[in-house]
Every structure is written in C-alpha cells, then in structure tokens.
C-alpha cells in the first residue's frame, strides 16, 4: 500500500505556481526524502499532505484518503513537524506531551513514551521557553512520534541543530521507521539524506526532476554522491 499518492498537483499563490503538476508515490514504511533548493515547493507539498493547504489542481491521498475531502481522516494518521515549528513557551515539555496525548485520546503510556523519545530526562519538566533549539526540536519530534502516526511528515527535522541533537533526531527517525512508521522528510544535508532515506525525489521549481533510491540515482547519473547529483540536476534543470 502506498502511504502517499500525489497526482498532477498544482498549487498557485496568486499567479505564481509553486507546485507544477507534481506526481509522487511513497510506499508504506521507510523514509522518503523530498530534496530541493529553497523555494522548490517542498514545504508547500508537505502542507498539502498535512491538510493545511488545498491543491489548486490535482489530488493527493494519504493511505488512500483524500487530503481535501477526507482531511479529518488524514489527520488521524499523520504527524507533521513544520520546519520552523515553535513551542508553547509557558508549558513544560511534559505538559506539552500530555496535551498532545489528550488531543489524540491516548493514555499515560503514550505520555511516558513521549518523554522517552524526547530523551530530555529531568529537563522535560522545565518550561519549554527555556529550551535550546535542539531541545525544542526533540520535544516536538517526541510529540509527533508518541502518537504512533502511520505517516510522519518532517520538514527539515535537523535544520539548525548541533551535531549531538542532529544525531539524536536521525537515530529516532530510523528507529521508528524500522518499527513501521512511514516518514517523508526534507533536508538540505545530503549526508543526512544518504543516511536516512530509502528513496528520494529531487524537486526543483515545483516539479519532480528525479526520483529513486539514492544509490541507484547516483549510479545512473554517474556521480559520486548525492551532493554531486543535486548540483548536477539543478544545473540541468530549465
């Protein structure tokens, strides 16, 4: 079963087409990377999948549910971590996780699971306003994964984090992917993409310009690594 199927997705902001007929199929399980430069349309694509934006044209389905017509069903299956997501500064980390578990109708075991995922130890009882950027990202990721989503949409999950927090986040993503959660992530870090992603799609100016397994793509384009692939494809793109 496909976790995500997008067909001919267009999205305009005013007269500006940000997505230009994107078609995409993400198989269930594993980590799928959506890679592209700033302004390529990654965040818009994620927002459509997260039911926040409507496509101007085309359709998108998550586990067979239409993101427009069956948005509430989709929201029960997904967790979304926006690129610059913030925290409720006056809530403690535990208070936030408790709120999330209650919103999803989950019990205390989910809360404890969230605390474990965050790996924040005693800091989970501090106000999130006092957290560093890395700690904030970890608590938000914990909030996403503690609800055991079928699809986790993570927009640049490690952007701006130091090495320690980045490694932690990547480890958690891989761990949950192996347990069956499907991830669709974006990143500018090609080493991270190489480590995390089972398949990737290169998106440029709202269009998918390459798609496949990282190793197959580098081999087929006769490049050493994903960075070279990225540069080559961006240079070739119209």
């Amino acid at each position: 079963m496909y976790a995500v199927v997008a067909e001919g997705l267009w999205r305009f902001f005013g007269d500006n087409p940000v997505l230009r007929g994107v078609s995409l199929a993400v198989e269930e399980g594993g980590v799928y990377g959506l890679i592209g430069p700033n302004g390529a349309g990654k965040t818009t694509m994620f927002r459509i999948l997260a039911t926040l934006l409507r496509p101007s044209r085309g359709t998108a389905k998550v586990f067979g549910k239409d993101v427009v017509r069956e948005a509430s069903d989709v929201r029960r299956m997904i967790a979304y971590l926006p690129e610059e997501a913030g925290v409720y500064k006056n809530l403690t980390g535990r208070g936030f996780l408790k709120m999330v578990s209650r919103v999803y109708g989950l019990g205390s075991s989910a809360l404890e699971q969230g605390v474990t995922i965050s790996g924040l130890g005693e800091d989970v009882d501090r106000r999130m306003g006092e957290y560093s950027k890395g700690m904030r990202r970890r608590i938000l990721l914990a909030g996403c994964l503690m609800v055991k989503p079928r699809l986790a949409i993570l927009d640049e999950p490690t952007a701006g984090l130091d090495v320690e927090h980045s490694v932690y986040v990547r480890k958690i993503i891989r761990q949950y992917a192996e347990q069956g959660t499907t991830f669709i992530v974006s990143s500018h870090n090609m080493l991270e993409v190489d480590y995390l992603c089972d398949r990737i799609a290169l998106i440029h100016r709202g269009s998918i310009i390459a798609e496949g397994k990282p190793r197959e793509l580098t081999a087929s384009h006769n490049v050493q690594n994903l960075e070279e692939l990225f540069v080559k494809k961006m240079g070739e793109a119209p």
């Binding site: 927002r47 926040l52 934006l53 509430s72 929201r75 979304y80 997501a85 913030g86 919103v103 999803y104």
Partner: protein, 418 residues
Amino acid sequence: MPLVSKELRELLSEKTILIGVVLMPLVIFPLIGFSMAPVNMREGDAGPGAAVLVVDQDGGKYAALFVEALRKTGFNPQPIQLQNDNLLQLIENSGASAAVIIPQGFSTQLEQKNKPTVKLFLKLASSSIVEFERIGSMRDRFYAAVSLMGEALASEEGVAVSFYKAPIDLSGEVVYRDQIISETDAGQLFQQFFASTLLIPIALTLVVTTSGTIAATSIGLEKEAKTLEMLLTYPIGRSTILASKLLGSTVVALLGTASLMTGLVFYFSRLTAFAGMSITLSLSPLNLVLLMVVLFFALVTTLGLGVLAGVLAGDVRGSQQLAGLIQLPLILLPLLLFLSGGIQSLQQPLATIILIIPFTHLMLAIQAILESSYLNILLHVGVMVAWTVAIIGLAAFLFRGERLLTMRVKLVRRKPVV
C-alpha cells in the same frame, strides 16, 4: 535628543498610532459635537419658553410678581390647581420641565420681611449628562427669577441688602421616573447618577475592549511562536480550536470582569451609605444578572472581533493593533454618544448608523437595565445576540480551511532588513 526624535518618528510612522491616537479624536469628537448640536437645540424645554407648572396657593401680589419674574427669566409659567397631591402626574402629563408650589402666606411673609420657601420640582427625563446640565441650567434660572424678585422688593423701602439678594428660599427636588428625590445634596445625587450611569458603561467598555485583545493575542501568539501549523494538523476540528480559544479568552476576560465588578460593588456600597438618600440606583440582584448577561454577549462579540483580528494579522503585535483598530471606533463611538446625551437625541440618519454598531446596544441595554426597562433590555440583548452569532459565524468561516495560514493584513509596511 536623537533618541526622542527616533521615538517620535517610530511612533508617528505607526498607522495605528497615527490613526487611533492622533487622527481618531480629530474625527470622533467633532462628529460627536456635530451630532450633539441638535440635542442642544432641542434643549428648548429648558431654554426660552420652557413650561413650568405653577401651583399658586397664595394668590397675593408677590406671588404674581414671582410668576412674572419666572416669565422674565424665560419660563412659560402655567398656573394649575393641585388636587389630591397629583403633582407628579400633572408634571408627567403636561410635558412641563418643572413645577413650583408657591405656598399660602407667601406674600404675607415677604411683606413681613421673612423669607418664604417655594417648592421647586425639576423633571429629570433621563440619566444623562445633558439632562443634568439641563436641570442645572434651569435651577440657575429659577435663582435668577428669585434675584429679579429681590430687585423688585429692593425698590420698596426698608429692605435690607441681605434680604433682597435672596428673598425666597427654594426647596429643590428632582422628579425622576415618577419619584421625588430630595435635592438637598445635588452633588451627591449627581455622583450617584454618575457612578451608576457613567462608571458602569466605562468600566464594561474597558473590560470588553481588553477581551478582544486577549482573543487576538491568543491567535497572534500561535502565529508568532509558529505553533499554529502543528495545532491545525491535530485530529481535532477547527471549531474545537476556535471554541477553545474563545473559552480561554472568555475565562481570562471574566476574571478581569470579576475583579472590576468587585471593585465597583465595593464602591457602590460606600457611595450609597455615604449619600444616605431615599432612592439609589445601585443594582438589584435581577439587574445584576441582566448586566452579566449583557456583558457576556458583549464579551463574546468582542472576542469574535478579536478572533477576526487574530486570523487576519500575522503576529501578536499585528493582531493587537488590528483588534484595537476594529474595536476602538465600534466601542468608543457608542460610549461617547451614551455619555453625551443618548441615542434618541441624534438625527435620524446618524442614529440609524449608530444603531447598526453592536456596542450601541450594549450601552442601550445598560441604560435600560439602570432604568429597569425590561422590554428594552430584551430588545437590545436580542440585537446583541444576533450580532454575536453573526460575528462568531464570520470568525468560524475565516478559521476554516487555509485562510488562517494564508490571510495576512499588514498595518505597517515593514522595511526589509538589509
């Protein structure tokens, strides 16, 4: 000095400051003044030709002289016979602004150089500043008539200066809503009215204004802290999110209201005890409940406006500015009109415009509560409920779909950081 100059430039560059603080008063106050002109014109009841019922129980020459003095000071004295103490009814039915009772022995007392006492009844049509001004002006003219009497008496021989300056004592009373209130301490009376009719609307206006800002801030904070996107992808309806925000804001606003009302109740209890008057306008339990109902709907309406501002703006500052910009004229205009003289005194087109504003009905409902006009309370609460439903409906409409993320109204053009 460079800092002061910078501050001035920054503040005056803010459109909300420029419009709300500098330009708005320049528009609103002349508008109020313009709209109140007809009110002042209508003060014909207190101006030349104002009807005054005269109960002449004396019938002597000085009684006639006093009636003449009233005429000279611009009143229109209308002699009547008082039967079965029906003065209040006569004042009500005749449309007169005042009544005087010239007691039996009035002329004799003056002949004996004693001061007679004339009972004066001033009709207070409504509890507004204009009405207080009107009866104050009438009182002054009655005293002018007394002075005229004094001058007439002074032309007679043997009258002491101190006597002819004030040859008559005026025992003033105020007729309000078919009751007679002693005017022994007009200052206290005015303070009582002031507390009831001005302080409550002003206090409630403050509460209501603050509430809208709370709701706007609530949404602005989500946008600014970038928590909104995650919130909107949780498996809960937008209506639930909106209701939570409204409820949270309502609780905070009600806490503020409770604090304010506690202070008001304490103030009233002190005031009434001090005044020791036979009539008080402090609120009965029923009126207090009605006031709470009116306040509740005003709060929800304002919270709805705050939500609109929050949806349209991009951050906390923007949402607060926008909430203020939406609320300020909607609340301030009816409040000023209420304080100035009441909606009924406006010209028809202007009155119609003012009546469209939901908060006009807050003011009118408060006035109706203070006057225990229950039919009017029902009418104005009904209009407020209709407005509440409409505004919350609009807020819910904007809260749905992607408008919450994509709509942006910028009040200030921010220069890009270089």
